[in-house]
């Protein structure tokens, strides 16, 4: 044990009252200096052990002339100047002042060992007080106690100043409590509805599960889709995202990992970026749609999936769908006309369920129609991801593996054509899923993402949709069709599609067929056929309304 020396005399210069661990092994004599870790002192330093009394003494530096005590050596020196000492005595001793390190006098403390001594006297004092001392100082706001006055002061300054406020009015002083609360607070849903047109970066758009408050702005879009419940309300909300971060992601396709999830991820992110980029420039939003994401971001979104050969379908899917998805998720603020569609495929889960061909085609189709309505209507077609249950519908998992591959770098037109080709092959009603319509047949017993429970839920969801879908994902289109009625009456649907009144007069044949088929009994083949007819291609795209 280091000898404890009461070092109450001056420390300046002389008297290294060092108990350099005569009885202890000397501090590490390693060549390397480990300065960065606290308590790993310079091996050449002198180890000083002070008793608790000395350590806590406030005036350690005493003037030899008048015996006045000072807390710091500098203060003492300043004072000594006033004594008009002759030159010789004034100066410090010329020898190099050795670096001193201090050990904690508390024997059980880890810093009691010379190899863990602290380099700073003030540091060791504070350490001793904090760890081994009585906590005399108490914060009146939060009742935290401190042994060192400066700690207490520092804390009081920030106590209560850094506050996190949830929209519901609750205030938190800790970020983690705030985050946990916020995640489950209903205020999140309300806020997302409010911020849909607001490009605030921190907005938390949220498609609220049960929130069917239709007060959404511009279009009288159907209320939001609530995840667990049936997608009766389909308020698509464009969630705003932080454009910057999102955009950055766009160019980075999902690289190596490649597997479907990766692909999905990649595309989703790109789509997200897509949206966000869309957001940033309102004009681009329409262009996004009109060009079916032909913008670079679009291709970017489509591209990333490419490398992910393993799961082409997914990838492809992501490429196109992600666009839409991103729209929704990224919440293009105002320029979210595209958001409509995005929301259509909204849930991020969409990526999972959306099968390549079908949805894209449809999306494109719709988007084409939407193009004109640049007036941002942050469509309220919100398919909450949570609805994911449907998205992750029973077949979701399987589908992923089986969906036909998507070609790389498709232009919008190409996508549409391809979609036409794919026709109903895609089945996986990604859209439908997205709409939360779940196929009741649960072939995949448990490979369902988002499908929390088993069939009863699906059934209820389907019922909620008022469709009584005969499940099975034979045709994504079909499901889409079936799903659309959910979004309200035909008129609303038109709005949803962005056709609005203007577009009403010029429905594309296939599109109208689509819509009419929605109303009545719907035949997947018919729809598929109409799509296959390919008559939607340029006409649809070019349609302006």
């Amino acid at each position: 044990m280091p000898v404890e020396v009461d070092n109450s005399s001056t420390v300046s210069g002389d008297a290294s009252v060092s108990s350099t661990g005569n009885q202890n092994p000397p501090p590490k004599s390693a060549v390397k200096k480990k300065r960065n870790l606290p308590g790993m002192p310079d091996p050449d330093a002198e180890v000083i052990a002070l008793s608790p009394t000395t350590l806590l003494a406030t005036n350690r530096f005493v003037c030899e002339i008048c015996n006045k005590g000072f807390q710091r050596d500098q203060n003492l020196q300043l004072h000594r100047r006033g004594h008009n000492l002759p030159w010789k005595l004034r100066q410090r001793s010329s020898k190099e002042v050795k670096k001193r390190v201090y050990v904690c006098p508390e024997p059980t403390c880890v810093h009691h060992d010379p190899s863990r001594a602290l380099g700073d006297l003030t540091g060791i004092k504070k350490h001793f007080c904090r760890k081994h001392g009585e906590k005399k100082w108490k914060c009146d706001k939060c009742s935290k106690k401190y042994a060192v006055q400066s700690d207490w002061k520092a804390h009081s300054k920030i106590c209560g100043t850094r506050e996190y406020k949830c929209d519901c009015g609750t205030v938190f002083s800790r970020r983690d409590s705030f985050i946990t609360h916020r995640a489950f607070c209903d205020a999140l849903a309300v806020e997302s509805a409010k911020t849909q047109t607001n490009p605030s970066s921190e907005s938390d758009p949220k498609v609220q599960a049960a929130d069917s408050s239709p007060r959404r702005s511009p279009p009288a879009a159907p209320p939001p889709v609530s995840a667990p419940s049936a997608i009766t309300s389909s308020d698509i909300r464009i969630q705003s995202s932080d454009p910057r971060t999102v955009v950055e992601e766009a160019p980075t396709p999902a690289p190596a990992p490649a597997p479907p999830p990766a692909g999905l991820n990649g595309s989703s992110s790109s789509s997200v970026s897509l949206v966000s980029s869309g957001c940033s420039s309102s004009s681009s939003s329409s262009s996004v749609f009109s060009s079916l994401f032909t913008s670079t971001t679009v291709s970017a979104s489509i591209h990333p999936p490419q490398p992910l050969a393993p799961a082409p379908p997914l990838v492809g899917l992501n490429g196109s769908c992600s666009g839409s998805v991103s729209l929704v998720s990224s919440g293009a603020s105002s320029s979210s006309s595209s958001g409509v569609f995005a929301s259509l495929f909204a849930s991020s889960t969409v990526s999972a369920s959306i099968q390549p061909p079908q949805p894209p085609a449809l999306t494109n189709l719709i988007q084409a129609d939407l193009a004109p309505s640049t007036s941002i209507e942050p469509i309220s077609l919100c398919l909450s991801t949570s609805h994911g249950s449907s998205i992750f519908g029973t077949t979701g998992q399987e589908r992923r593996q089986h969906a036909p591959p998507l070609q790389p770098a498709m232009s919008a037109t190409a996508l549409l054509q391809k979609a036409a080709q794919m026709g109903a092959a895609a089945s996986n009603a990604s859209l439908l899923r997205g709409l939360g319509i779940v196929s009741s047949s649960a072939p995949q017993e448990n490979l369902q993402w988002g499908q929390a429970q088993v069939d009863p839920d699906n059934a209820s969801i389907a019922a909620g949709l008022g469709l009584g879908l005969p499940c099975d994902g034979s045709s994504g289109l079909k499901e889409l069709m079936m799903g659309t009625p959910v979004f309200g009456p035909k008129q609303t649907t038109l709005d949803f599609l962005g056709l609005g009144v203007a577009a009403g007069g010029n429905p594309n044949a296939s599109l109208s067929a689509l819509i009419t088929s929605i109303g009545g009994g719907f035949d997947a083949t018919t729809a598929a056929a109409s799509f296959r007819g390919g008559d939607y291609t340029s006409k649809d795209i070019g349609r302006s309304s």
Binding site: K206, P257, A258, N446
Partner: protein, 454 residues
């Protein structure tokens, strides 16, 4: 039928003598300076004394000595009111549990004696709304410690992955997930796809109870994730600890086969859930094939051991195991009682320091602990589900299952410390080799460990 109308003089209590109850015999250390010790009712107020009485009572019940049991219960009833200080409330809870036990397993005489114990034996377990639960888990660092440490370890382990599959086996119904998503969302390389799988209904009969279904919970999480630009997929697979989460494991296995090459990070986050798995002291089920995991050969190991092996078979990216550091597995009632008494005083003490007496949250908190005490003391066999094991044993189990421990980084430690700073001053952090241990006044409370496939 009450045999005594007043507390009998101590020396009359047969047949053994209650050990010295003077305060000098305090061996329960309360090392933290400045903290109040239990204010007692004279010599009876000592926690040590209460423990002794409880032990004797337990012995009396086990040996069907109704008279003695009743006497001691009477004493305990008087010295440990349910609204006393933390030691008294703790003792009251144990008292309750002993009575329940006696009522379940005792003889007629015992039952008659118990009938006199006029206690209200029902516990009012609160069913939390999700917001209430969110603030409940933040009352003390009991859970937040594990959350913080686990999140840090997880984040470090999944660096670079673009798809993260999190399997959350947590008693707290996904309360860890928002902060985890938030952390994932803010990582530099951009948010990945996150898949979240939970065991639906695993702890529907164990507190804390949630009034929300898992679907709704999942939808909220997905919404929240979306607000952070993270794509979240949620899935609740009905599974229970009683069969070693076999349905969950099956699902994960299939997933693993499908996604094995896909660069998906598999994170298994176990937060105070695994101690419900039956272990070696529970005699195996009578089924011939006691292995619930159909894909593995039949085994004679306990479900707990088999579950860990099954986890290893999934080749996870990281497994985080957070649990309470105590041993409740003894088959001997007295051992268990001692172990429980010497551990569960902690939650009573912690809640005493910052929640006022009448607060609802405190009532809920203590009711949940009361439930656990009853489970440990009054139940046996499969019904006794609180089978805590100390850290050393869990560490050994993980190693046997083929995992190697990995330590928490400096950042993790400093985050935990910062978090602890925001709570009352009795909480501390200990680093034991690779593991982190949360301490209250120097006593181990919860440990956090991280594991990689060995």
């Amino acid at each position: 039928m009450m045999q005594f109308s007043e507390i009998p003089p101590l020396h009359q209590i047969p047949p053994f003598s209650i050990p010295t109850m003077n305060k000098n015999q305090i061996h329960r250390a309360r090392p933290w300076p400045g903290f109040p010790t239990s204010k007692g009712l004279g010599s009876f107020g000592d926690a040590n004394c209460m423990e002794q009485l409880l032990v004797h009572c337990a012995n009396a019940i086990e040996s069907n000595d109704a008279t003695l049991a009743q006497q001691i219960l009477w004493v305990l009833n008087n010295i440990a009111p349910p609204d006393g200080d933390s030691n008294q409330r703790l003792t009251c809870a144990f008292l309750r549990a002993l009575i329940v036990r006696a009522a379940k397993s005792g003889t007629c005489k015992m039952l008659a004696a118990m009938a006199n114990a006029h206690c209200n034996l029902s516990i009012d377990i609160h069913t939390f709304s999700v917001i209430e639960l969110a603030s409940f888990v933040d009352l003390t660092p009991w859970h937040r410690f594990g959350f913080t440490a686990a999140n840090a370890a997880i984040l470090e382990a999944v660096e670079g992955y673009s798809v993260i599959h999190i399997v959350d086996l947590s008693l707290t119904h996904c309360m860890q997930i928002p902060t985890l998503i938030d952390a994932i969302a803010s990582r530099l390389e951009g948010p990945p796809l996150v898949k979240l799988t939970v065991a639906g209904g695993a702890t529907e009969d164990v507190p804390p109870m949630l009034d929300l279904s898992y679907e709704e919970l999942g939808s909220k999480l997905i919404n929240f994730a979306r607000s952070r630009n993270v794509v979240l997929e949620f899935r609740a697979i009905p599974s229970t600890y009683a069969d070693g989460f076999s349905s969950l494991i099956e699902q994960l296995r299939v997933q693993h086969l499908v996604y094995a090459e896909s660069g998906e990070a598999l994170v298994i986050n176990c937060h105070m859930m695994l101690h419900y798995l039956p272990e070696e002291t529970l005699p195996p089920l009578s089924n011939v094939n006691s292995n619930p995991y159909s894909f593995e050969p039949s085994s004679t190991q306990s479900l707990r051991a088999m579950f860990l092996k099954a986890l290893r078979g999934l080749d996870p990216t990281v497994v985080v195991l957070v649990d309470e550091d105590a041993d409740f597995t003894s088959n001997n009632l007295v051992c268990r009682l001692r172990a429980a008494f010497n551990y569960l005083w902690i939650p009573y003490d912690t809640v005493d320091t910052f929640l006022p007496q009448g607060s609802k949250q405190r009532q809920w908190y203590e009711a949940d602990i009361c439930w656990k005490i009853e489970n440990v003391i009054a139940h046996e066999g499969l019904q006794r589900v609180e089978r805590l094991e100390p850290k050393s044993r869990w560490v050994q189990r993980m190693r046997n299952a083929g995992f190697r421990g990995v330590s928490f980084g400096e950042e993790a430690i400093s985050e935990v410390k910062t978090m602890l700073d925001e709570h009352a001053a009795g909480w501390g952090l200990k680093k034991e080799e690779d593991d982190l241990v949360l301490t209250w006044k120097g006593h181990n409370v919860v440990f956090a460990t991280a594991w990689l496939p060995a």
